[in-house]
Every structure is written in structure tokens, then in C-alpha cells.
Symmetry: C2
């Protein structure tokens, strides 16, 4: 079995492969043509599509075949262009995969975003050629592996995770193995079984939802995505309740930490099942989360988070072996936790800034991640400042009389006729209305104000035909959808109290924005761009948010709704070490202001309660 | 409280210290003047001894005092020499501790060895100045620490072991802290309590004995040394029995791993008690052991060690956090395990080669570490080759009729009159003889041969007056000490079988030597130096070993008895990263030959059984 060295660029994969096979076969063997993207061969390597074009920069790949002459011009052949499925490995080769063959691969595309990076994975694969360990050839598997890593691949001082070694049959047999290195440490091994592409797990660990992405670390392609509810909900709906539970005692803390680890294991299991791989194939994970989720996962002290001075215990990046947190990934896999900025500005905010590229913004840019806590960042001339405001759960449907999450049957968009007598609405899934979700209630308040049904204080005009006092007494309410149209046993209404809740929420966000600007010595007029991230931020109608004064009054084109930018940030940090450093730079460089300590806080907040 | 930067060279300790104190006080605060060695001040810093001489290379240290004028010449004062107890820190200072003030510090001296290295510890200390975390200064302790490590000390991307963070009170108060970094990771913190010098633990994990050394990592000084029996003895006297026990099942393996971890914890506790520190002050450990001890500690597969092909599962260096092995050291401490060479040539042999500098030998040098297994290494022109031979436990007193360990009452040295009728002996502690230990039995056989009481085959001359057949039958025996002189109820004798055991043992060692030489294409005549390591090797009489043909026939001055060179190697790897790399180079570069597979093995062994 004669082997030669093949070197794929720009991915930087070098390996010993069998002589005589095609370049495509060699690429497939190295996992460079599996999964989405990569060096795909839509025709199955039969020379029919001409898509697997590569350039042989050095070495002997045989004479061009008829198929190659069909798809490549003579001058291209002259330059070394070949079809990977036709060209044969006859000696050591240096093969370049040109951008067009990698298209769709080096791009990470999310709603509203178009971030292109070159993958630069935390782990690297190396192919090894092993020979049977005997008393005459007393080289156990890892000794052969270390020697080849050093001599063939130039890895300096290769080491092996001792638990991986403990799980490996020590004696080699004749054959090819694929080893995964993280730095100079072997953390996974495929021997006697095919190696899937190197896989990573990106997690956006939210208070309510946990989103997971299974990623090809070499290409950046998302192989599966899924979400689960954060199982910690059983111990408290919001962050404060959970911190309180953890503070009850060590047993409680271990329990609330345990359930989230269990949830992450479940999420990983679901993702790998979708992709037809095993959890032990996941070789690296990145988790981004708010500071409380971050601390509860790591079992860090939380008292100072729940009480003044509301600070994290740890703001530097953390790398920990997955098994030490109880996560079942590949034997030596690591988890990287994006650093947090402050007690209420977490790694998810860092990832949001990173995923939406606010850190690189040339314009004066505001970034908002709206949730129960809304984190806001301001980039002005390269300086960044952040704050967190308690906007409350109103936009998630909580504290709203007929509020609900954004699921089927929720009223998600509303328009009123100019006199406020006609109501036009849309529900999710087109189902009969069951209630109203965040974007719907936002629209309602904006429209009530536009049509004069409420005044600047938010008070309902009791003389309006759709405004009434409920039969049993209580606050006034606006009839949104009469019972006969709804999917519930009654009307869908918006009460005076609901409007007040929205005013509180929008005042929190608006005053956060104003105080950030004030701290930067700027005013709303200086703002040039507003990035709105997160699920609610993506679905809300920007006009409505501007109309009630929640967002600053800028032309609509100044707003960019970017979806789950935190998830994008997590994926970027997963596939690129430069991106990981970028996230860390963001965490270090973003300043934090505590709104409560601003002298003008009360004033600004009170003014922001009014509609503009 | 005004602070300035002081920079101690060549140890490379920089820290912010209070202005106005003496250089000695600053050094003491940084742990540079604690424990043995270092910047000692025998007179207690009263300017009476002149020993704490330093050179102020830059900065303002005030005017020389009368005490300084007494101990330093004008030209020395001119060059910046000062007494550390007199000179005052008035501004940022660069202070050199000259070699003479560090004497005894940068030297590691062991019996027969004189190895001098510059400490280059795996961990480094940094002094931090913290300020109270409040809502207005919302910087928790680790955030302040990370910021200062980066800005003051230029540490790139400082991180914190998350379990250290979990064990730290997150909120800072005003004060000075000392943080220990390993690379860029914080692994220990002293805040609100004094920091002892950075401490390390070096362990020579033997099959029978476990030797431990508590070391000042900055100076290399040994603060305490102690030994315990390896508690695994309960599961088997020798390596094979223990491997067999571990192979019985997972529970048994966990048990035999557990007892040695427990033993190491006990050893560490004893050492720190002697030195008046805490186990949580130990910030790094190095363990050297034979391959079986190494594998059993790490819970690596052992079947292939106990059976053909007798190979290790892992031959690369291992670094593992102490807590993950169950060792109670400082929160983030690591254990470094010196790599092994082969199934029967372990990390202790690497450390022996390192500690005795055989790897740097210019002469053709043989190194022997005599035990139940004797490891031999040959350095010829920079190439190194090793083997292991089953010399058996005879030299530890086992399998010898009246054999015993080298403890009080053991006959340790013997001479006969030329006719073999008079016996002159020495016992350990001068006590009446209880039995005979390794060096004694070696002398006996050599003397019996010299005086013709045994022939070249080892057969006792039945006509000799001291040779008799025991009353109850059985093999012939030589009366060494009659009952009236012994401390036991009977004679001390050496039997024909005992002589045979020694012949087997010496044949193993001699044939190992010959086969190593043969593999290198050399003969005994090419040998220039022989290094003999280990407790038995240090106490044996070289003449006797040469006389019976156990050691090659070289002039006595060619032999060097170096004591516990493996322990020295462990200590070197503990205090110096270069030494650690040196050990790794040795492990990689030393070739291994399996004696059993040498065609001439049988032949050479049979010939070696004869006395020369």
C-alpha cells in the first residue's frame, strides 16, 4: 500500500493517502466532501457536472480525461485546473480548492446578515497510517500516532488526552486512522470506522429557549438546528427566580445546574440524530448565554448577581472539557463559553454584537436585543458602551391580560382604520385569534395612539365606541376582536393596564437608549443605524416601535432587523479561532453603565413613559 | 497608598508594591525571601550581616545607609550594589539578585550529583492591587485581576480556572492579592492571607516505595522530603500481581487506582505539615513512575502491559488537573507525568537518565537502575538505547532464605579471610544480625568466589569447614554468623539456592548489558563510564558486583553511584520547563530493545550465569 502526501488548500488539510485514487476520493476520505457544502460532486463523481473543479498547484495528477476536456478550457488545463473526480493521485499533490468550488461553504448566512468568514476550526484532522503492534514492532497506537504527527505533519510536542487514551484499544492494527487535534492535543480518534466531518455544537442558552446548531467545523455548514425549552423553567420563569433557587443551598444549585446539562445532552442527541451522526462525533462546543445562565451552568457564585452590586463572578472566557461539566461529546471535546460583560450583559450580547458586526460599524450604531432584559449597545467611533434595562416580559405575552407567546393563533399584526372603529389583524398560522403576542400588542398601542383612542399618557378615550368598562368593573378596555371571531370563549381585548405595561416596557428601552447616548455625550440626532436582534426584534413592526417612542425616531431604512444574531455569533466562534478572539475583544472593550446609578435616570424614565 | 512597580531579576518577578518599604520587605511580600535559599537575611534585616546584597539596576532606592557603607565598597555602591534590608523603594525599581545572593538556591544537589539549573517554574506569581467592588465600581475581583495582568504585566489573554473562580469570593475589597498563573491561566489566588512561596510536589512513584519532595518552585529548594509504602502492595507485591488485580474488573481497577491516589494525598499532607504550609498551597506536581504505576494511576488499559506485546497504552507526556485524578492540591493545580519509554522502561527511568545527565554524557556510558526489574540505558555517541531485564527481587531480600530489606539488623557488608574461615560483617545500625540484605548477599557471593568456597558454577565446596548440609537435609549452606552472635534464634546462613538466586539476578543484568552493547555494535571494552542509580545501587559494593560479573569489568573509577537520580529528575522537571522538555526528548530519543526477541538472548544469558 503506497501512500503519498496530499495537501488541500486553503483549508490546510494535509494527509497521507493511497496512491492511485482520485483527488475526490482522497477529499472524501478526509471528510472534505461530506455534509453540506465542501467539494461537492452533484453527479456522484462521474464526470458529468464539472462542479468539483480544483487546481493542482504541484505534483502529478495524470493526464486530463475526456470529461475534463469537456468542462475545462485548454488554458484552464494549462493553469492546473482539473476535475477532482477525474484527476488521479500519482504522487505527492498540492491541491487548491478554488473559491467557486467552496461557494456556499465559507459563507454563514442568517436572516438579514451576510457574514462571510474563512473557517479556522479549533480542531484539525490528520490521517495516519498505522501498522500492527507486535513484540517485534512494539509501538502502540498512540506512539505511532505521535511519531507521525511530529514527522509527517510537523506538530510540535503532540500529546493525548489521557481519557481518550484510556478509551482507545492500545494496540494498533494495519490501517488508516483519523485523529483530531486541538492545538497539539489529540482529543478524538477514528480507527476502523469512517470519520464524519469534524462536528461542532453551537448553543444559544437562553432563559426560556435553548437553540442548538450542529456545524461542520471545516466548512461552517449547519447540518442540523433545533431548540428546546430551558428545563430550568421548572425552578423559576425568570433569571431572578432561578438565582434564588440556586441560592437556597448546594443541593438546589446542583439540581438546577444538572437539569440544564441534561437538557444540553438531550439537544445534542436530537441534533446528531437529525444529521445521522453520533454525539461522540461532536468535537467542540460553543455556548453563549446571559450572565445568569452562564454562571448557573458553571456553578459559579451567584449571590452578587442577584443582589447589589449585581456583578458576575467571572468575565473572562472559559474553556472546559465537556466531560467535566457532564456533557457527553467526543472523549476529549472542549466547551468554550463566550465571556460576559456585566451582571446583566452576557455572552449572548457579545455574540449578538459579533454576529451583527456592530463592533465593526463605521456609523454611530445602536444595537438592541429585546427580551425580559433588554441589552443595548452603542458603537460611536469605535468605542462601545452597553447597558441592560428591565423591560419585563410584556413582549413575551406575560403580564398582558390576553397575552400569549408567538405561536399559532396569536394576533401578531394589527392595523386600525383612521377613526379606530375598524380593526384589521393577522394571526400566526391564520388561525382564529386566541390572544395577542408581542408584535401584536405593540401594533395595537401604536395604532391606538395614531388614531387618538389613547392620549400621550396612554389613557383610553372612554367615549370611543370600542372602548368600554367591563361588566364586572375594573379598568377600561379596547375591544380588539369580538367573541364571534375568536378561537376562545369570549372577546380579545386590550386593557388600560396592558397599555400601561407596554408603556413601562418601552420606557425602559427608550430611557436605556437615551442614557447610553447621554453617557457617550451624544443625542438621538447623532444615531445613524439601529440593529434590532432576537426573535421578537425580528418580528416586530419597526414603525410601531418608533411610533410609541420605544425606538428612536429615525428613518425606517436606518433599522436593521437581524434575527438570532447571538446564534450567529456562537457559530462564528465555533468555526473560527479569529472570531473567538474577536468576541473576547468585544467583551473586553464594551464598557458598561449601570442605569440606576445615572443621576438623570428617574427623570428620563418618567419622560419616556409618555407617548411621543 | 501609593504603589510602584518593582522588577526582580533574574527570577523575573514583577509586582506593584507599596512605596517606602525596603527592598527586602518587598521581596518577602512576593515570597522571594521565604523558605530555604532565596534572598535570605540571616540577621533578620537589621543590617548586621551584609548578606542580602542586591544590585539596583534602575530606579531610586534612596541614599546608602551607614550599614551599607560598612558592607559595600565605594565602587560597589557606585555600581548600584545595595543591601536589600536598607535600600528603600522610592520609585519603580529594577533589582538584580546577584548569583552569590542566590547561591544554594539555583543548585539542586543530590548524593554523587551536582546538577545546577536555573529555576524556570511552570507557574508564576503576580501581585495585584484590588479595590472594593461596588455598584459604582462594578468590577468583580477576577475582572480587576485580568485587567491588571494584561495592563501591568503584559499577560496575553489571561483566563481563570472556572473552579478556582467558583471557590473565590467574587467581590473584591481594597487590598493586595497574589495570583498564580500557569501559562495564562490563573490557578490559585491569595487574597486576605499571606502567600507562601510557590510550592510544588515531586513524586517518585515506585512499586514499593513512594518518595515525595516539597519544593519551592522559584528557588528549587527542598522544603520537606518523605516516603510512604505504596499502598497498592495490599493488592500484590509486584507489578504483575497488581496489573492482574486491575484486570479482574472495573471495580478492582478503580480500587487499586484509588488507594494510590489516597496514598499520594497522605504523602502530600505529611510534607506540608513538616513545612508548615497547606496542601492547597501546592500549585504543581510532577510524578515519575514505572510504566505500570503510571498506567494504574491514570486508569489506562493494562492488558497489553501484562501480556505480549508488553507495550504501554500511552508514551507521551500527560498533564492533568490534580482534582481530576482526585488529588487535593491548590484549586487549579496540574500534575505532570513524565512520559514512559516502553512497557518496562518507565518515566522513572527517563527521570533517572535526566537526573544523572546520562543523556549529555560525552563518554560511552551505561546507566543501571537496579530493582525487581532493572532498566539499563546505553549512551554511545549521543544515541541512546535501553532495555529492561527481570532481575527479580533477590536484592530486596526476597527469595533469599534469610534475606531481608536494608533495615536495622541487616547484614549489609561482608568480607571473608582469604581461606574463607573468618567472616567480617557489618549490620545496619550495628545491631545483632537478623538476616542479610542485598548488598550483603552480593558481598557474600563475591567473597565466596574469591576465596574459592564456590566455583565458577556457584557450587559450594562441601569440604569447606563453614559449608554444611543442614541437619534436616536440603541444599548445602554456608554458615555466615553463628546463632550466638545473631539477634534471632539461630544461625544466619547462605544456601546453595540463595547463591543460585543471585546468579540468576546478576545474569539478567549482565546479559542485558551485553545485549545492549551488541545491539549498539559495541563490546564491554568500549564502555567508559557506568552510572548506578537507586537505593540498592548506591549501597552495593561495586567491587563485589564486578567480581561476580554483574557489572562489566572496568576500573572502579569508571563507576558513579548516584542515589535516587529518578527523584532528582522529578524535581528538575518540577522547577524547570526546559528540564521537562529535556525529559520528553529523552523519552522520545531513547530506543528500546526487547531482550527476549534478540537471537542471542538464550546464549548470552546462559553464559552470564557463570561467575567470571
Amino acid at each position: 500500500m503506497q501512500e503519498v502526501l496530499i495537501d488541500f488548500q486553503p483549508v490546510g488539510r494535509r494527509a497521507q493517502v493511497k496512491r492511485g485514487q482520485t483527488i475526490l476520493a482522497a477529499a472524501q476520505q478526509l471528510g472534505l466532501a461530506l455534509g453540506a457544502g465542501g467539494l461537492t460532486a452533484p453527479c456522484g463523481g462521474r464526470g458529468l457536472c464539472g462542479r468539483c473543479r480544483v487546481r493542482v498547484a504541484a505534483g502529478d495528477a495524470g493526464e486530463p480525461t475526456a470529461a475534463e476536456r469537456r468542462f475545462l478550457k485548454p488554458e484552464q488545463l494549462e493553469q492546473g485546473y482539473r476535475l477532482a473526480c477525474q484527476a488521479v493521485v500519482l504522487g505527492p499533490l498540492k491541491v487548491e480548492i478554488p473559491p467557486e468550488s467552496m461557494l456556499g461553504v465559507q459563507k454563514l448566512q442568517v436572516e438579514g446578515l451576510d457574514v462571510t468568514i474563512v473557517p479556522e476550526a479549533p480542531v484539525k484532522r490528520y490521517a495516519l497510517s498505522l501498522s500492527r503492534t507486535t513484540i517485534d514492532n512494539p509501538q502502540p497506537l498512540w506512539q505511532q500516532a505521535a511519531a507521525q504527527l511530529e514527522s509527517t505533519y510537523g506538530v510540535e510536542r503532540p500529546v493525548v488526552d489521557y481519557e481518550l487514551a484510556a478509551a482507545t484499544e492500545p494496540l494498533a492494527t494495519d490501517g488508516t486512522a483519523v485523529v483530531t487535534l486541538r492545538g497539539s492535543e489529540a482529543i478524538n480518534l477514528y480507527f476502523g470506522r469512517p470519520a464524519p466531518p469534524p462536528l461542532g455544537l453551537a448553543v444559544d442558552l437562553g432563559t426560556t429557549k435553548v437553540a442548538g446548531f450542529l456545524i461542520n467545523l471545516e466548512t461552517g455548514a449547519t447540518l442540523a438546528a433545533d431548540g428546546i425549552m430551558n428545563p430550568q423553567i421548572a425552578y423559576g420563569e425568570d433569571v431572578m427566580a432561578r438565582l434564588g433557587y440556586a441560592m437556597e443551598g448546594e443541593e438546589e444549585y446542583r439540581r438546577i445546574q444538572g437539569v440544564v446539562v441534561e437538557g444540553l445532552n438531550r439537544l445534542a442527541a436530537t441534533l446528531v440524530e437529525k444529521a445521522g451522526v453520533a454525539v461522540t462525533d461532536i468535537e467542540e462546543a460553543v455556548i453563549v448565554g446571559n450572565t445568569a445562565m452562564h454562571h448557573l451552568l458553571l456553578h459559579l457564585p451567584v449571590e452578587q448577581l442577584a443582589r447589589a452590586p449585581y456583578v458576575p463572578a467571572l468575565t473572562v472566557p472559559v474553556e472546559v472539557r465537556a466531560r467535566h461539566l457532564g456533557l457527553n461529546l467526543s472523549p476529549g471535546a472542549y466547551i468554550y463559553l463566550t465571556p460576559v460583560i456585566a451582571g446583566f450583559v452576557g455572552g449572548d450580547h457579545v455574540a449578538m454584537i459579533q454576529g451583527s458586526r456592530i463592533d465593526a460599524a463605521k456609523k454611530v450604531t445602536l444595537g438592541l436585543d429585546i427580551g425580559t432584559n433588554t441589552e443595548i449597545v452603542l458603537n460611536y467611533g469605535g468605542k462601545m458602551l452597553s447597558c441592560s434595562c428591565a423591560s419585563g416580559p410584556a413582549f413575551e405575552g406575560a403580564h398582558i391580560t390576553q397575552g400569549m407567546r408567538a405561536i399559532t393563533g396569536a394576533i401578531a399584526a394589527v392595523r386600525l382604520s383612521d377613526d379606530g372603529r375598524e380593526v384589521y389583524y393577522e394571526t400566526i398560522g391564520g388561525a382564529p385569534p386566541l390572544g395577542i403576542c408581542g408584535s401584536g400588542i405593540l401594533d395595537v398601542v401604536a395604532e391606538l395612539y395614531r388614531t387618538g383612542v389613547i392620549n400621550a399618557s396612554g389613557r383610553l378615550d372612554l367615549k370611543h365606541p370600542r372602548v368600554r368598562r367591563p361588566a364586572g368593573g375594573g379598568p377600561a378596555e379596547f375591544l380588539l376582536v369580538p367573541a364571534e371571531e375568536t378561537g376562545i370563549d369570549g372577546d380579545v381585548v386590550v386593557t388600560q393596564k396592558d397599555i400601561g405595561e407596554i408603556q413601562l416596557a418601552k420606557a425602559a428601552i427608550a430611557s436605556g437608549t437615551l442614557l447610553l447616548l447621554e453617557a457617550a455625550g451624544l443625542t438621538v440626532e447623532d444615531l445613524e443605524e439601529v440593529v434590532v436582534a432576537g426573535a421578537f426584534g425580528t418580528h416586530l413592526k419597526v414603525e410601531s416601535a418608533v411610533a410609541i417612542g420605544m425606538f428612536p425616531k429615525l428613518p425606517l431604512r436606518a433599522f436593521r432587523q437581524v434575527g438570532n444574531a447571538a446564534g450567529t455569533g456562537a457559530r462564528l466562534s465555533l468555526i473560527s479561532m479569529s472570531e473567538r478572539r474577536r468576541g473576547e475583544r468585544i467583551a473586553r472593550e464594551v464598557g458598561y453603565i449601570e442605569l440606576m446609578t445615572r443621576p438623570s435616570f428617574q427623570d428620563v424614565f418618567m419622560k419616556s413613559l409618555l407617548l411621543p
